[in-house]
Amino acid sequence: MRPSTDIASARAGPTPGRFAHIGDRAWGWGLTILGGTILVVAGLILLELGRVAAPAFDHIRIFRFLTSSDWDPVQEKFGALPFIYGTLVTSIVAILVALPVSVGLALFLSEMGPRRLRPPVAYAIEVLAAIPSVIFGLWGLFVMVPWLREFLQPALQRTLGFLPFFRGPMIGLGYLAAGLILALMILPTIASVTIEVLKTVPPALKEGALALGATRWEAIRIAVLPYARPGILGATLLGLGRALGETMAVTMVIGNSPEISASLFAPGYSLPAVIANEFAEATGDVHIGALASLGLVLFGITLVLNAVAQVLIMTVARGPRGAKA
C-alpha cells in the first residue's frame, strides 16, 4: 500500500541515509511504545477491578451471587439477581424500541428519504449522540416520567393490560421509563453504525435489483438488507453494550428498588445504578468488593458483546457474505 521506508532511506544517499535509518528505528519504537500503552491500559483496568473486588471473594459464592435476590450489605448478604434482571429487562426494552426506529432512520438517511432532508436529520442525530447522559436523566425524570404516568401507561394498560408486563400501579418510574430513555440514548449508536454498514453495500447489487424492475423498497429488501444484516446485528450489539452499562439516566428513572417484577411499570434496579448509589457510601471493604464484583460482571458482559460486534461489523466491511439473496 505504501512504499517501504527502508527502500526510501537506502536511496537517500550515504550519510543522511544511515542517519535516517536510526531516526526511523527510533520513531518506530517510540510509536510502538505509545500504541502498546493501550494494552497496558486494558491490563490495568482488569487488574484494578480484580483487586478492588478481591475482599468480597471470600464472602460470596458465584452461584449464590448470581441467583440470589437478597441484597443486604450490612448482613453481608450479596445477591445480585435483581440488578442483573433489571439491567437485562431495561436493555431488552431499549433494543426492541431502538432497533426498528434506528434502522428506519438509517434507511431514511441513506436510501429512502428526500435528499434535501438528509443533512439536517444527520446533524440532529449527531446532537442526540453528544448530549451528556445526566441531562437525559434530568429530562427523563421531569418530563418523560410524568408523561408515562399520565398518558402512555394508562393507554398501554387499557389496550394490552391482559399481558403481565403492563399491570400494576402506574407511577412512571420503573423498568419502562429506564428502557425508553435507554432507547433514545442508544439510537444514535445503532443508526450511525448501520449507516456506515449500508455504505459498504456494493451499489451494483441495488442497481441490479432496480434494473430488474424492483421498487425501491424491494431493492432494499432483496439486495441491501441481506448483505448488511451481520453489520446491523453488530450495530445492535454495540447499542446493547451501551445500554447495559449506561448509569446516570437509568439511575434517575428506574426507581432504585431491588425487587424483581414481571410488570414493566414496577420500579427496579440495575447493575450500574446500584454501583453508582452505594459505592461512595459503602459500609466496608467487603461491600465495596461486592459492588466491584458487579462491575466485573458488567465488564465481562460488555467485553464479549463489543468483541462480537466488532467481528460482525468487520465481516460486512470485508466483503460478500450473506449477499447470496
Binding site: 505504501r2 531516526g23 526511523d24 486494558a42 483496568i45 442525530i125 418523560m144 463489543n306
Partner: protein
C-alpha cells in the same frame, strides 16, 4: 388489487415507516433541547457562573465551583490522555497494519465500549484506595482512562484520510520516513487530530458516573488535586434527585450551562474538521 399497484403501495408504506422512525427520534430530542433551554434560561444570571451553591431556600447561589471543577478535572485528564491517546492513534495509522497493530486496534475498540462506571471503580482502586481520600486527581484519572481508547481510534481515522500520494511524494524526495510522518503527515492531519481531541474533551466534560466515587463533590472552591472536587455533572445529578423545587430549577440551569459547554466544543470540532479536511482531501 393490481400486483404492481400493491407493490408500489408497499414501497410507499415502508418509506413512510422510515420517516416515522425519524420523527420518533426527533420529537424527544426537540422536547429535551427546548425544555433545557426554556427551564434553564430562567435561572441564568452572571452570579450563577461565579457563586458557590447555597442551601435550599436561600436565594442566589450558583455553580461556579462546579464549573471550575469540571474544567480542572478535564484539564488534568487531558494532560494524561492526550499524549497517550494521540500517540497510540499515530501508531495505529502509521505502523498498525501488522498483527500487533490489529490487536491494539481491536483492544481500543473494545475498551471504548467499557461502561464508564466500571472505569470509575478502576480509578477508585488506582488512586482513592492509595490516597485514602476522594480527589480531583482520581476524577481526572477516570476521565483520562475514558478518553484514551476513543481518542486513539478517531486520531487514526483522521490520519488515514491524508492522501498516500503526499507520503509518496515526500519519500520520493528523499525525506526519511520518520520525518515524513512528523513534518508532512501529522501537520496535514492536524485539523482532524484537534477535532478528535475536542470531541474527547466534550465527552469527558459530560461524564458523571465515574466521578461519583472518585472526585465525589465539594461545596467550596478547590484547585488542589488531592481534595474532593465539585463538577457540573455531579452537581446536576444531586440537584435533580433532591426533593426541592428550588434545586430542581438549579439543575435545569446547570444543565443548560453544561449543554452550552459541550455544544460549543462539538461545534468547534465540526467547523475545524470541515475546513481543514476539505483542503486535505
Amino acid at each position: 388489487m393490481n400486483p404492481l399497484r400493491w407493490r408500489r403501495f408497499v414501497n410507499v408504506f415502508w418509506t413512510v415507516a422510515s420517516g416515522t422512525g425519524v420523527l420518533v427520534a426527533l420529537i424527544p430530542l426537540a422536547s429535551l433541547l427546548w425544555l433545557v433551554v426554556s427551564h434553564g434560561a430562567k435561572g441564568l444570571s452572571a452570579s450563577f457562573f461565579v457563586s458557590l451553591p447555597t442551601p435550599v431556600g436561600e436565594p442566589g447561589g450558583g455553580v461556579g465551583n462546579a464549573i471550575v471543577g469540571t474544567f480542572f478535572m478535564v484539564g488534568l485528564a487531558s494532560l494524561m490522555a492526550l499524549p497517550v491517546g494521540v500517540g497510540a492513534g499515530v501508531y495505529l495509522a502509521e505502523k498498525g497494519d501488522g498483527p500487533a497493530g490489529r490487536a491494539i486496534r481491536f483492544t481500543a475498540e473494545v475498551l471504548a465500549g467499557v461502561p464508564s462506571i466500571v472505569i470509575g471503580i478502576v480509578a477508585y482502586g488506582l488512586i482513592v484506595t492509595q490516597m485514602r481520600r476522594f480527589s480531583a486527581l482520581a476524577g481526572g484519572v477516570a476521565l483520562a482512562l475514558i478518553m484514551v481508547p476513543s481518542l486513539a481510534r478517531s486520531t487514526e481515522e483522521f490520519i488515514r484520510l491524508v492522501p498516500t500520494a503526499l507520503r509518496e511524494a515526500s519519500l520520493a524526495l528523499g525525506v526519511p520516513g520518520w520525518k515524513t510522518s512528523l513534518r508532512v503527515i501529522i501537520p496535514t492531519a492536524l485539523g482532524g487530530i484537534v477535532t478528535a481531541v475536542l470531541l474527547a474533551v466534550a465527552r469527558a466534560a459530560g461524564e458523571t458516573a465515574p466521578l461519583l466515587f472518585t472526585a465525589l463533590n465539594n461545596q467550596y472552591w478547590n484547585l488542589d488535586p488531592t481534595q474532593p472536587t465539585a463538577s457540573l455533572t455531579v452537581q446536576i445529578y444531586n440537584y435533580a434527585i433532591s426533593p426541592y423545587e428550588d434545586w430542581h430549577s438549579k439543575a435545569w440551569t446547570a444543565a443548560l450551562v453544561l449543554l452550552l459547554l459541550v455544544g460549543l466544543l462539538n461545534l468547534m470540532a465540526r467547523l475545524l474538521s470541515r475546513n481543514r479536511m476539505a483542503g486535505a482531501r
